[in-house]
Amino acid sequence: MLVETAFKSGVWTDTIEVKDFVAQNITPYFGTHEFLQPPTHRTIHLWNICKQALAEERQRNGLRAVDTEIVSSMTAFKAGYIDKEYEVIVGLQTDELLKRAMKPFGGFKLVQRALAEHGLKPSKTVTDYFEKYAKTHNDGVFDVYSDEIKKFRTFGIITGLPDNYARGRIIGDYRRVALYGISRLIEAKKQDLSSIVGPMTDEVIRLREEVASQIKALEEMIEMGELYGLDLSRPAENAKEAVQWTYMAYLAAVKEQDGAAMSLGSVSSFLDIYIERDLQLGIITESEAQEYIDQFVMKLRMVRHLRMESYNQIFAGDPTWVTESIGGMFIDGRTKVTKTSFRFLHTLYNLGPSPEPNITILWSKHLPQAFREYCAKVSIETSSIQYENDDVMRPSTECDDYGIACCVSLQELGKQIQFFGARTNLAKTLLLALNSGRCEYTGTQMVHEIPYIDSQYLDYDVVMKNFKTAMHEVARVYNEAMNVIHYMHDKYYYEKAQMALIDTNPKINIAYGIAGLSIVADSLSAIKYAKVKPIRNEDGLTVDFKIEGDFPKYGNDDDRVDSIACQVVQMFNEELKKLPVYKNATPTMSVLTITSNVMYGKKTGATPDGRAKGVAFAPGANPMHGRDTKGLIASLNSVAKIDYEHAKDGISNTVSMIPQSLGSTLEQRITNLVQLLDGYFSQHAQHLNVNVLDKQTLLDAMDYPELYPQLTIRVSGYAVNFVRLTREQQLEVITRSFHKHL
């Protein structure tokens, strides 16, 4: 097949521009889910093997197998299969299912520690190489970190930074391999390289080196395909190849990199173009089309990285964030929903619920109604998907070809990347403001120039003034750490395979983040509307608070406190925006915690809102557990007030409700969930995780995990297998507000 003649031509024919190909050739679908087919016997056979392997992984403490000899790369391992003759889509990260690989360029000590936790160590050759000759990202960062940065890190003010693991978040435009074939991509990159010329400034040298590595990566990708007998140098010629080629491109990325979030982008409606064509030509049946998607998704579910136990504190449940964004609208008003949008969601029935791939619906009030209802049905029956507001993100970024990186972060596909920066602990920052810049636990001086507060009651204006100084200083140190991290990641662990599938010199945004928003808002509200008396120890450190009177709490649609939350987000974002960034990246900020809200809580003393020392924060932008007493909608309305323009890296909100709270019948529940999403998103909210579960199910799963291997629950921006959370995290999930009015 000649691709140019098989499809409607356009800009994409002459330049690398997948977006145009999709826009020209898509077949939007407005019908219902009734066309969907069950899994084939081949899919069922393979999934049974996977389920067995997953059970073994759980039994072996989360590590089914690992290779301690080979350093992973695109071509380091020979071809791996689940059961070759049943596989229509092939490719594993290593030579065996659920066998993890060492990717030491992020940090060798971490690989050693991860293996040591299972009584293993890297081979002598690998150890010698990394201890004597090679330098890693982690080595580079700690060579350069100042004492101040290290102190902020140790005391838990800036935490979870990608300085001892790979940054991830970059989404390669994996569709390019299918549409163009790798030879054409190499040609284009070679042309780019030849146009990057002197004078040889730092910037030019760096860019030439990067593009040169990308070309090598593309060549290696062809070799990787050959291991599986696939000729990736040419474009995909049919639906099966399009799925296979796209998966191979993604596989190259996860063989080479172990970034925290290795997201997929938005491939379903791209693949639909090939599937639709083959269906029209009568080459394949619907059952085969579903089989390609089922087996592709099955492979995505089997992606693994080697992690240390402590990593679990910030990212619980061994997530990989294979985020696939589905739906949304074109700027021209057409929908991007296709039959393959449905086929992707249908894998949650054909293979059962699952946290990965992290299926994200780009919600719009203009999406076809049948699709909206199907999404709601899937949420109600699987709790496996999340929603993000296309009607806010599309106009704000003027972009209609984007994927979500990780949980809530928009990335224009093939044109933009992101520098991930975890988050700062804003609640602890507030405590610095109350303690003349000292850590509330140890008394260590963290920030200077904050006057000591010795008044009997806290005064709102004084606290706000100090808080602003504290934010200014924390932002400065945070920014310094980020610049170091991304400089070193580029230098020692450059994502050459992913970057090879992105335009040369893409737009970059740096993704800062905050944790503890609800604590800060409620604390400031308590200071403003009640009387808060600090209780100080003999060193003058505030160790607790006595609150006299009541105060409005974030999560009840009360402007008095919600406006404080909005103001705090804006203030910190503005502090960050003032600072210079590596590679001139654009600063953005998220309100997202992943699952680190538990760990942040531990590192933070008592707060003026009445929260005791060590108690977990609410996740993301969620109101604090149990304080949103006016019901689900009031809670949603509070979060919806946080302005996306001040937190363009995303505002995460997770809600859990029992099925009955949505109505008596499935039909009513679907209608009401669609309406709930419309109501929330029409007020410009950005993100919603939806869990429809009984609390009792979770309690049962804690006692009998073996009976609930696939029980999936949305946490902050992603989903996990509930049984793979630690007991502490499970309890935290259970304490969260379950909305259950009957």
């Binding site: 006016k630 909608i633 709270s661 109505g663 709930l676 929330y680």
Partner: protein
């Protein structure tokens, strides 16, 4: 300004009328049904006084969630005990294009409550307690059965839609002759959109204890799904039935 005595407000109601609704539970009831699950709404004295403006502005905050189906439901207690104050409030909600449902036991007989039935309420949810006077008395400690059925006639004459809600309390409201009478009762009704069969549950029991009131249904268990379906199948021949 006239105030309304409110017990509580639920911002995400999905069981008291169509769609997502703000449910305003008004304080005070003239009946004392033996299976009441909101016993704390019965006394006339407690609750909080709210102005119409407060209630309307809350409803406006929730309006994005109402869509084409949802709106506000006044429940209780018995909302029509405050019928006079409700009329201007409903009119205010209508100015903002908000659908209003009244969840009533249909026993409060006066010109205001009748006017609400005839014209103001977009939808009425009639809680039918019993289908004969004697049974009514045993369920509600009250003798207002005639008013009960009179209300439905008023709504029929006004040609306006309504639902009937009937709580299935095993051993109390589900005898074959109860069900048969219910079938006969609903059969001629023209503007009845649906009959909701609500399975009895004991979630409200603790409220009776908190109120120092005697709860008599100690040994009654919630009817199972299959049983509810069986009753639904019988009634389905006479009107549209939904298990709530």
């Amino acid at each position: 300004m006239k105030t309304i005595r409110v017990h509580s407000i639920e911002s995400f109601g999905t069981h008291d009328g169509p769609g997502i609704r703000m449910v305003v539970f008004l304080q005070g009831c003239n009946l004392q049904c033996i299976y009441c699950h909101n016993a704390d709404t019965i006394p006339l004295q407690s609750g909080t006084d709210m102005t119409s403006d407060e209630i309307v502005s809350q409803a406006i905050r929730l309006k994005p969630y109402f869509g084409t189906h949802g709106g506000v439901t006044f429940s209780g207690g018995e909302p029509l005990l405050q019928a006079k104050q409700l009329i201007p409030l409903i009119e205010q909600l209508h100015v903002h294009n908000i659908h209003v449902a009244i969840d009533t036991n249909g026993t409060v007989k006066n010109v205001y409550s009748h006017n609400i039935m005839k014209q103001h309420a977009d939808l009425v949810l009639f809680d039918i307690k019993a289908i004969d006077a004697e049974h009514f008395k045993s369920m509600t400690s009250n003798t207002l059965f005639e008013a009960h059925t009179e209300f439905i006639r008023i709504r029929e004459q006004a040609c306006k839609p309504y639902w009937i809600r009937y709580v299935v309390v095993p051993g109390y409201t589900d005898a074959p002759h109860h069900i048969e009478a219910l079938c006969n009762f609903v059969q001629p009704l023209k503007y009845l959109e649906k009959l909701q069969l609500l399975p009895y549950h004991s979630h409200g029991k603790h409220k009776w204890e908190l109120m120092n009131m005697q709860y008599t249904l100690h040994d009654v268990e919630a009817p199972c799904e299959a049983y509810m379906q069986k009753l639904s199948n019988i009634l389905n021949k006479f009107c549209r039935v939904e298990i709530g």
